[in-house]
Assembly symmetry: C2
């Protein structure tokens, strides 16, 4: 195909041409013009969560996982105890990160098709006073579940525990209001719902806890306290920033704001998600999740029962028609995933469903119906 | 100015339009086409150092500093002892990285206008058998010194010590031949002499030591053993890659190869450096370094003695004429730096010298002569 395939993935995702065109310039990382871009991005990010009074935002080079690791090493003292509310693969990754860095970490298991339970968290915090921090994945893209951020934050606040939120794939699409929701850190990245390109993350840190984080990190590159202090002092990043990624994010944010910000983005993604699910159901497919816990970010479908179905061939056939899907990440049941995010709308989602129909036909699979 | 300023900085630097145009597409990070780009980049990188038989190369998200930290945490055991040959700011940063991660680290000081001494290293290794690893900055861009990689590597090999080389700003310009030069790890990044955009680093690791590195890292994101194992198994990056940065690097490498590889790049940068130094000397400026230790990467000049000179105004005046310089990084003496690298040639360097002449005139500084 001469036309680029549309990425139905949870990031990197399809970005606008305007966002990509911003990368056609070279910027000096020490220069005031680039510092102004960084400052503008930071201001806009804080506005999105209404966190200007309560939080600082610290950008960091690397993928979102680097920012999660940075949040843990910066905020959690060596003798801290982290409780991870676990309903999926990204929860387990957060626990692995914490354990490798020498932090005591407990996984609290939930089913991967359900949201985590604030009341179970309450019982756990009441039972184990050694826990210092709770980690929540806001949207667990392993299955696509939206977890109850507000209720979890309320429990953590009541017990005076630090809350670290991985909002990688929810930030800028799902409402997060720092004036109402109490958290110590919240992490997201450039190449997700803001529709920038991948290459940097950012961490919102509550100002009240930031000062206490000095000297806690065992990593220089990932020390968000140090990164923040240097940026406040000089306007610059401590180490070489991914300049083209930063200016692309600035351009993506400008479009986000022009289009109406988070409510408008949520409306578009919700429409994408509804178009997708309705179309796929008409082909016989069944979503893995109940509608009540389904985030409008990424949808997990059960694999068709038909013996001709094979994900690799299905993927290739859909790709040949211009749409790139995503493999499943569940261990107990065969699935595949389709993202609803990126610079696409219901028109592209309807075309995607049509591409899936043609792909099924290629494979000789009569219906998407699972076993 | 409507024309972009030329970056006379040690990276991010000026890239070709062809390199930037490669970023006008979106790539699925899971897709085979992107995996092929990653594989091609890795093959090319190994060829540049003739390391196909001896080394593996592991790309990593983030700036070059992230890759240095990753090399230390992956290669040096918790009870290791690192000796850093210190003749500048980047050496001190490597030591700080090592110390923060809990590795015992000793700084061996040298003057910042001289290369480090292989014979002094020999004495130190003979005197202290607890040292397990030596860290060398190949080109110390703090002042611009080229350090004697081959001689240092020979000493390390004789004492059977691991050598970790920060070749951030020398790789692809200065010859490095893994068949002749023995090292355990060598680190560089996308936005330096390969003339890609910033956003990823890569670490060459000797195959013979890689297997012994399993489980040594205390960071998940920076575990190069794990990154390598996953990439070998799946062709993919473990965590979201900066896809646009990777494809820009692939395009930059294609141009590097077409132009004649490392010898051609060295010839161009040498010509840039000679044009710069000759022109600046004619304006009265004096390079900080003797020619014998000056790498053709970045040149440190002593600040003019004239009382009207002020770096900030000098910088702005040169920038108004289209050239972005770089501040000095020495603590004892006032300097500024001018990079010789990036997609520029002697024509641009001569124009840069002319811009400096006009900038001096703006400031009412008669000559670049230092005190």
């Amino acid at each position: 195909m001469s036309h680029d395939a549309i990425l139905l993935t949870p990031g990197p995702l399809t970005t606008t041409l305007r966002t990509k065109l911003a990368m056609l310039r070279d910027w000096g990382s020490w220069d005031v013009e680039f510092n102004q871009v960084t400052a503008r991005v930071r201001r806009s990010l804080l506005q999105i969560i209404h966190g200007e009074d309560s939080h600082a935002v610290v950008p960091l080079q690397g993928s979102g996982t680097f920012s999660i690791e940075a949040a843990v090493t910066t905020l959690v003292p060596q003798n801290g105890h982290i409780l991870v509310l676990d309903n999926g693969a990204y929860c387990k990754r957060a626990a692995k990160i914490s354990t490798m860095m020498g932090r005591r970490c407990t996984l609290m298991p939930f089913a991967d098709h359900e949201a985590v339970s604030p009341s179970a968290l309450q019982q756990q915090l009441a039972a184990d006073s050694s826990i210092t921090h709770v980690v929540l994945i806001h949207c667990e893209t392993g299955a696509g579940v939206l977890n109850p951020l507000q209720a979890v934050a309320d429990v953590c606040a009541a017990f005076k525990k630090g809350l670290i939120v991985d909002a990688m794939s929810s930030f800028a699409a799902i409402e997060i209001d720092a004036r109402k929701t109490h958290f110590d850190a919240l992490i997201a990245a450039s190449g997700k719902c803001l529709e920038g390109v991948a290459g940097m993350g950012f961490v919102f840190i509550r100002k009240a806890v930031l000062d206490g984080c000095a000297g806690q990190s065992q990593s220089l590159a990932m020390d968000l306290y140090d990164q923040h202090a240097y940026m406040e002092k000089t306007g610059q990043w401590r180490f070489t920033p991914p300049t083209h990624v930063v200016v692309a994010l600035a351009e993506a944010i400008a479009q986000f704001e022009e289009a109406g910000g988070q409510p408008a983005r949520l409306a578009r993604y919700t429409s994408n998600c509804q178009t997708l699910i309705a179309g796929m159901k008409a082909l016989g497919f069944k979503p893995f999740l109940e509608p009540s816990v389904q985030a409008p970010i990424i949808v997990t479908f059960l694999a068709p029962a038909h013996p001709n179905y094979e994900f690799r061939r299905f993927y290739d056939a859909a790709k040949a028609r211009g749409f790139i899907m995503y493999p499943g990440k569940l261990t107990q049941v065969e699935t595949f995933r389709v993202g609803c995010i990126g610079a696409i709308g219901p028109v592209e989602m309807a075309q995607a469903v049509h591409a899936v129909a043609l792909a099924l036909n290629d494979l000789g699979v009569a219906s998407g119906e699972p076993g």
